[in-house]
């Protein structure tokens, strides 16, 4: 059996002698062809983990391997097989997109130039414009291109769709799926449940430097609560809705309310079917909130 694409054993980081561990004894195994979502609030240790894996910072405890090679000793070799997008990425503002991609390709030769041309076309990137003159979305597209253009076996992505419009986000999810099909392992840090649901096979949640839980994405979605904003033509049936098991209802106006519901949604729709509904919209579920809610509950 081949080695996991990414593995960590007791990996920890303490930035100063008396400081708390920013990452505490992380144990992790991610296989080839797997997309792993890494979630947690700001300062939880997500970026520290990513920076350790890429050997930008040195571990205080433990070890980690990428494609069976040690992240410290074999750091340079590993990077022949890794693509990386930093959160809040910085590019070279004076270069055009083309110059930047040429520079990056000179540092890490690409296998198929045609693949890069295809990516440029798919993401509709104007590579002739100076990076400083590009919108944040277009800069993010260039960041995606530089990470994927050499078709790496492992992709480490920190908020990869930040700033992208929905069309380009879809294009990105498609790209990720294609890489997964080719056996690439993708480690992605994100805040967005819809994105994680679309992309990931498994999710790990980190808080205060500790990996609290790992679950498959289906398990997470099953336990996540849905939030609906509903406006009725007449008075809202708030009392009726409050009777649904697991529901929380917040009334904004006599005809407008928000229902927060975990689990089976059919009782909600049965009630709605018997009333005149003017509009209904589902809010994006924040996976971190779900986890936080869950784990706060479990700690009590």
């Amino acid at each position: 059996m081949s080695a996991p694409a990414i593995s960590a054993s007791g990996l920890g980081k303490q930035y100063a002698d008396n400081a708390p561990f920013a990452l505490h004894k992380l144990n992790l195994t991610i296989n080839e062809g797997e997309i792993y979502g890494f979630l947690g609030p700001n300062g939880a240790g997500k970026t520290t983990t990513i920076r350790l894996l890429l050997n930008f910072i040195q571990p205080t405890t433990g070890t980690a391997k990428i494609l069976g090679r040690d992240i410290v000793k074999d750091s340079v070799d590993i990077k022949t097989s890794v693509g990386y997008i930093a959160g809040d990425i910085s590019l070279y503002p004076k270069m055009t997109g083309q110059q930047f991609l040429t520079y990056m390709a000179q540092l890490q030769p690409i296998k198929k130039p045609a693949y890069l041309r295809d990516l440029i076309k798919r993401f509709n990137v104007n590579t002739k414009v100076k990076i400083r003159d590009l919108s944040s979305g277009n800069r993010q597209k260039i960041a995606i291109l530089q990470a994927f253009m050499h078709q790496p076996k492992v992709l480490i992505l920190d908020e990869p769709t930040s700033g992208l419009d929905p069309l380009m986000q879809e294009q990105f999810y498609q790209l990720v799926k294609e890489q997964k099909k080719h056996g690439a392992c993708i480690f992605v840090s994100s805040h967005n449940l819809a994105e994680v649901q679309k992309m990931c096979d498994r999710v790990g949640f980190i808080r205060d430097g500790r990996l609290i839980s790992e679950q498959s994405i289906n398990e997470v979605a099953d336990t996540a609560a849905a939030t609906f904003d509903i406006t009725f033509v007449d008075k809202a049936p708030a009392a009726e809705l409050r009777k649904i098991k697991g529901a929380k209802v917040t009334t904004h106006t006599p005809s407008h309310l928000t229902v927060y519901l975990r689990g089976d949604l059919s009782p909600l729709f049965k009630i709605l079917a018997s009333h005149r509904v003017a509009s209904i919209s589902q809010r994006e579920i924040n996976l971190e909130e779900e986890f936080l809610r869950f784990y706060r509950g479990s700690r009590r």
């Binding site: 590019l91 004076k94 990056m104 000179q106």
Partner: protein, 267 residues
């Protein structure tokens, strides 16, 4: 290594051009007045003779200002060239790695199969090339002006004095570079530290000629080993340059030891 050097030079191409223009302009301004000053040397001598020894030492390493060697040394090679090139070198030394780290672009490079030592060496080579370009053009401008205004100093000596001033500046740049590679806290101190050694050394060494007790502390500063007037007359003991070369070598070793394993700061 080549792409790292090439793109670093590309990024700094316009600032390098402006440095060349600035240095050549400074040299030209100083050199163009030589015939006038030479013709009125006796009157200037009277004025300068009233200056204290300490003040004279700050302006020249010979105390002589109006002979060809005295003029070239006091106006170009003793202070102006090493200081101008020193500013360039300190700025580059503090920013070649420091700017990439501050702006987060270093992560783009280190996320690729680039060993840290190679990155460091490439940046250092790019810095040396920039400094050499500006220094050589400045030296050539001095030599050409020297011929135009009839300064009777050999071309070879002018070139050697120019290279010595480049080496002095490189020494200050290497100090800034080494301090920067120590990490985020040190990065802020890199320019201050290097300027202290450059400017403080210049003042200390200049005053050491008239203040006896400063002679020993002055020996710790590179300026003490730099005597352009002696280079211009062919009497310089080149073993002195070993101290300056030694500082560059030590700074290079410190940079490598510090940078190869340290944490890269988050942007």
């Amino acid at each position: 290594m080549r792409p790292l050097i090439k793109w670093t030079l590309w990024e700094r191409r316009w600032s390098t051009l402006w440095w060349i223009i600035g240095v050549v302009a400074f040299i030209s301004i100083n050199m163009v007045f030589y015939p006038t000053i030479r013709d009125q040397a006796s009157e200037f001598e009277k004025t300068f003779s009233q200056l204290s020894e300490g003040t004279k030492a700050l302006l020249s390493d010979t105390g002589e200002f109006f002979s060809p060697v005295g003029y070239l040394s006091s106006q170009i090679f003793y202070l102006m060239m090493p200081m101008l090139l020193g500013i360039l070198a300190i700025g580059a030394g503090a920013s070649l790695i420091g700017k990439e780290e501050r702006e987060g672009t270093i992560e783009l490079i280190l996320s690729r199969p680039v060993p840290r030592g190679r990155l460091l060496a490439s940046k250092a080579i790019a810095g040396v090339l920039i400094l050499l370009t500006v220094g050589i053009i400045g030296t050539m401008a001095t030599a050409i002006w020297g011929a135009l205004v009839d300064i009777d100093v050999g071309f070879g000596y002018i070139v050697l004095a120019g290279l010595a001033s480049v080496l002095m500046a490189l020494c200050f740049g290497a100090i800034a570079f080494a301090i920067t590679t120590l990490g985020r806290g040190a990065r802020a101190a890199s320019i201050g530290g290097a300027v202290f050694i450059a400017l403080g050394g210049y003042i200390l060494v200049s005053l050491a000629g008239s203040v006896d007790w400063l002679k020993w502390p002055a020996k710790a500063f590179p300026f003490d080993y730099y005597h352009p007037a002696e280079i211009l007359t062919g009497t310089y003991n080149w073993a002195n340059m070993l101290f300056i070369v030694g500082v560059v070598v030590v700074c290079t070793i410190i940079s490598w030891l510090a940078f190869r394993r340290r944490d890269i700061s988050a942007s």
